[in-house]
Structures are given as C-alpha cells and as structure tokens.
C-alpha cells in the first residue's frame, strides 16, 4: 500500500469521525444564512369536526418566523377539518390523522402521535395554544423529546428568543432556547388569528403510531352559552366579590352582557365564593383576555386579576371604593353602588339600541 493512499483513507476516516461529532441542528439555527431552513408545526384544535378558531393563533405566531408552516389535526372524520384548515392563510400543508382515539385530545396517546409526526417532519418549531388542550399536552411531548418547553409566549424576538410573562405578568421574561425542536405554547390574545380564508395548503395524511391510552374519557359538562367565547370576545363584562351572591351575579351580569353583546367573566374571588363558574375566571390562574372593552363591576383589582385583563384595549370599572386599585388601570372609572349603577347602565344601553 502506498503512503498517499493510506493518507487518503485516514483522511476519509477522520472526516467520518468529524461528521459524527458535530451537532448540525444547533449550529444551523444560529446561522443566519440557513434561516430559511426553519419550519413550524402548528397544532390545531378540533371539536366534533369543527376547527377551533382560537387555535389559529399558532399560525399567526408562526408567521413571525421564516419558513413553511404546517398545520396538524387529528380525530375522527378529520379530513373535513383539514380541508377547512387548508384555507387558512399562511399554511403550506395540513397534516391530518384520522382516528377517533384522538377526539378527546388525551395526552397519553396524543403526545406519542405528535412525537412521531414532529420527527417525521423535522420541524424546528412546534406551536400550540396555551389552552386547556395545549397546557395538558405540550409538556408531555416536550418530556418525550427531551426539550424544555417555553410556555405562554406573548412575543417572538427571533427564531430562538421569546418573551413570556412571569409572576402573573408582573415581569416579562426574555428567554433564549438552544433546544431543537423548540416547543412553545402561545398566548392567543397576543397573536390575533389571521384570515380563515385565502390560503390553499396541500393536505397530507400523517403517521399514526396508535399508542394505547390508559386513561378513559368519561364525560364533560360544558357551560352552554349563546354569548361570545370569553377568551376571544370583543367585549367582556366581569363581576367580582362586590356582587355579594350567585343570585345577584346572575341577576345583574347577564343582562349587562346581553346589552353589550359581551362575554361574561369573573374574578377569582367571585369564583371561589361560588357566584360564578370556574370557567369564567379571568386572571393569573384563569383565562387571559384582551378585548376591546373590559367592563368590570365589584372587582377591586388584585394583581392576580389584573394579570388576566390588563392588555384589554379599554378598561372600565364600577366600584364603590374610590381607592380600589382597579381605578389605577381603568381608562374610565365610576365610583358608586353597583346594585344601582349596573342596572342603570344596562337600561341606558338597551334604550340607546
């Protein structure tokens, strides 16, 4: 064997070694010239064959990054949902998995389903809403992929840097992640859903690992309401401890909500006292809302409550205590007895219709 050939073989062998040692994914994400290699999977929610519009916020968030966006949806008869989603602006492809086992979004089998499809697609980012579904599911997926999820982001600074509220929104954390893929839940009110029409994504069937689910879904009890959905409503009226009882809450708040075409919310104090259902709770541990108008009565304005509504465009407050902290954030405040003021307001709004 001649020396040059041996050298050549050695060189080849060492090249192989080098390739094995490198971690290309991480480097690539840092390299500006390779930014176009980003790709995002947006997890869409569906219910009984209907696309959940608030989950489209994942798509608008993903549009802040470069690269293609694929939507993902799973459940029974889900091809129709995929077709509906294919019209959403910004999507390149919709991946669907037709299997009734995923209808209830149970993470025990939904997480392995996502893991398979994330791996297959080689995505750099996976977005889902910070909804009951996303909160329940995404951390389980993160653990299976060994990545540290970033929850409830409100802003995207770059492909690896995000802003999220911490301490009930009393501080904003800018955080950078080197994980790949990056798993992220997004605050819907910070990324308004884009147009549900105008797109023309392709539709493709995803892989189904058919993992078993040891958990059995038994039943649900959802508040039936003709009013707008709290999380996405343009107007919200919200009641607090000042309402004094469930009877008074039910007597005063629904007519006001109807006069405005608003959703109904409540403070934690009102929920804890049993005046209102837990699903109506606005605040750190409840829903975050950011409507055009947030009108509250009998809410003093604890920091945990402010955390859930201070991004509203206009805040109006009725409270009998003129020193209540709510007045420090309200654009318009009215000091007075809500048992007089709320019915008067309802009446005047109805009269002006």
């Amino acid at each position: 064997m001649t020396p040059p050939l041996r050298n050549g073989l050695l060189r080849q062998a060492s090249t192989c070694l080098r390739q094995q040692r490198t971690t290309p994914v991480l480097r690539a994400s840092r390299n500006a010239t390779l930014q176009r290699l980003l790709s995002t999977l947006a997890i869409l929610e569906q219910r009984e064959g209907k696309l959940n519009m608030s989950s489209l916020a994942s798509i608008s968030a993903a549009q802040k990054l470069s690269g293609p966006i694929h939507g993902f949806v799973a459940g029974s008869n889900v091809k129709a949902v995929a077709e509906e989603a294919s019209k959403v602006e910004g999507l390149e492809k919709v991946i669907y998995v037709e299997n009734g086992d995923y209808d209830r979004g149970l993470p025990e089998n939904y997480a392995p389903l996502l893991v398979e499809n994330i791996k297959k697609g080689g995505y750099t980012h996976v977005f889902a809403g910070h909804s009951a579904f996303g909160k329940n599911l995404m951390p389980r997926v993160s653990a299976l992929l060994d990545v540290q999820q970033i929850s409830d982001i409100t802003s995207i600074e770059s492909e690896d840097t995000f802003i999220r509220p911490i301490y009930a929104g009393n501080a904003l954390l800018t955080v950078q992640s080197e994980d790949s893929p990056k798993l992220i839940t997004i605050r819907g009110t910070a990324f308004p859903a884009g147009a549900a029409e105008g797109g023309s994504a392709s539709i493709e069937e995803g892989t189904d690992p058919k993992a078993s689910c040891p958990t059995e879904w038994i039943s649900e009890d959802l508040a039936k309401s003709d009013r707008p959905d709290l999380a996405t409503a343009e107007k919200v009226v919200s009641g607090g401890r000042g309402l004094k009882s469930k009877e008074e809450f039910d007597r005063l708040m629904p007519p006001l909500a109807d006069a405005l075409g608003a959703a109904i919310g409540a403070s934690r104090a009102a929920v804890d006292s049993g005046f209102a259902d837990n699903s109506l709770q606005v605040g750190q541990t409840g829903k975050n809302v950011a409507p055009q108008l947030y009108l509250c009565a009998g809410i003093s304005g604890a920091i945990q409550h402010l955390a859930g509504m201070k991004d509203s465009k206009v805040i109006a407050a009725i409270n009998k205590d003129e020193d209540a902290p709510i007045f420090q954030v309200a654009d318009v405040g009215l000091v007075g007895d809500l048992f007089e003021k709320v019915p008067e307001l309802t009446e005047k709004l109805n009269a002006a219709k």
Partner: protein, 254 residues
C-alpha cells in the same frame, strides 16, 4: 386487592402570593432577597388533598413531601408536614434555578426509589407560571395524567378525576399509578395548627443533593432579560352612568 396509596407531593417555595414582585436593577431577575416567601398556593391544595384521602379512609400508606431548592425550602416542607404529610425529602440546590424538565427528571427518580404510585402536584407555580412539571413527569414515567383537577375519587385502583377545561369540566378515569395536578376548586387548604407545627418538627426530613440522582438538570434556557411590563395609566373617573357611556363612546369602545 387494592393498592395502598404511596403518595408523593412536590412543593415549591415561591414569593408569597400577596407580595408584588419587583424586577432587580440589573434586569436579570425578580428581586427575592428580603421578600416574604411561602409555599406555592397550588401545592397547598396538593398536600391538602393527600391528607383528605387519609381522612376519607382511603388506604394511604404514606405521604412524602418533596422540595428541590435552597436551604430555606425546608420551611415549606415543615409546613407540609404540619398539614399532614408524614415525612419530607429535600434536594438541596442553592445555585441553579431548576427548570421544569430537570425537576421532572429528579421526580422520576424519586418515584422509582420511593415506590410511589400517586403524585399530586400544583398545576403551576405562581413564579414561573409554566404549568409543565406534572405533565412532563407523566410523560417520563408513561403514566396516566389528570391535570387541573377539581374533584378526585378513588375506588380500589381506579381513580376518577373531574378536571377544569375551557368552558367547563370533563371527567376522566384511570388506574394507578397516575399523576394529578390540582386546580383552585379542589379543596380549601387547612391552616397548620400550633400542636401540628410542633409535631412536624419531629417528623423525618431527609436531605439529598442533585448529585445523588445523577440526572441531567442543566439549564436549557437562557435568561436574556427580565423587565417590568409597561405600566398602564388610569384615565380618571366620571360622575355618573351617562358620563361612563359618553367616555366609552369617545374611546371607541361602544
């Protein structure tokens, strides 16, 4: 024969919920020195639920309270024991702020070493607001999970959990072992009585270090900055309902 419940309740020491957090001057973190701390409120619900299982004559073998964090985390483990946990396990970590994935990995080891078949965690801690650890632990262990629980019933090996979802509640059924995370309506945590606080001082509290678990708890996320949110200014008050409607119209909200 039904399994005895061997419960693990992880608890976290956080800035007290009534204290308004302040960002430090360097904008690198929230100021924690000289600030009142207490047990994360959701973790109080977890301890309370475990203790109530025993009071409801469920076959509770023992309740182990766990915390990972600085020396002072001992205080909240004592509180947990004063509320009714049987013993405490403190993984002392002074330097690094642990991330949910790292904590979940340590908890996985604890579950295995201590033979746990039920873990009850708060749905989120009120400092980081991440809402991840319970679900991650369930994923690592491959166990059933029921998050945001408002009602839990156990019969033999079968656990029925009502959980808070968007717009209402749903009910799930699973077999032990499983993970439950707690939500506000689950119960009302008790205050520890003085005699129980005294008794808790004598309950066993074991100290360990991260090195004892040999898992990767290195930080995956880098804090670039911590900032105060933009302040919102109140817009003043109006005299009457007519004024309220007028002002809302001016603001374009009606």
């Amino acid at each position: 024969m039904a399994s005895k419940l061997r419960i693990l309740v992880p608890v976290k020491r956080v800035i007290d919920y009534a204290v308004k957090p302040r960002v430090n001057k360097a904008q690198t973190a929230v100021e924690t020195t000289g600030v009142k701390h207490s047990m994360n409120p959701f973790d109080e619900l977890s301890i309370e639920e475990a203790v109530r299982f025993r009071e409801r004559k469920y076959p509770v073998e023992d309740i182990l309270a766990f915390s990972a964090g600085p020396a002072k985390s001992q205080d909240i483990l004592r509180t947990a024991m004063a509320m009714g946990a049987d013993r405490g396990l403190h993984v002392v970590e002074e330097k690094t702020e642990l991330e949910p994935l790292g904590v979940a990995k340590v908890l996985q080891k604890v579950v295995e070493e201590e033979g746990r078949n039920l873990v009850i965690l708060g749905k989120q801690s009120i400092d980081d607001d991440a809402n991840q650890t319970g679900q991650m632990l369930a994923g690592l262990l491959g166990w059933s999970q029921a998050t945001q629980a408002s009602k839990v019933d156990i019969e033999g090996d079968s656990v029925t959990v009502t959980r808070e979802v968007d717009g209402g509640v749903e009910t799930l059924k699973a077999k032990l072992p499983m993970i439950i995370t707690t939500d506000l309506r689950l119960n009302e945590p008790r205050y520890a009585s003085l005699p129980n606080i005294m008794k808790a001082k004598k309950k066993p509290l074991q100290k360990k270090s991260m090195a004892d678990y040999a898992v990767d708890t290195g930080k995956r996320l880098k804090t670039v900055k911590v900032a105060e949110p933009p302040a919102r200014q109140g817009g003043g008050k109006v005299e009457d309902v007519g004024g309220l409607i007028g002002r809302l119209k001016e603001l374009g909200a009606l």
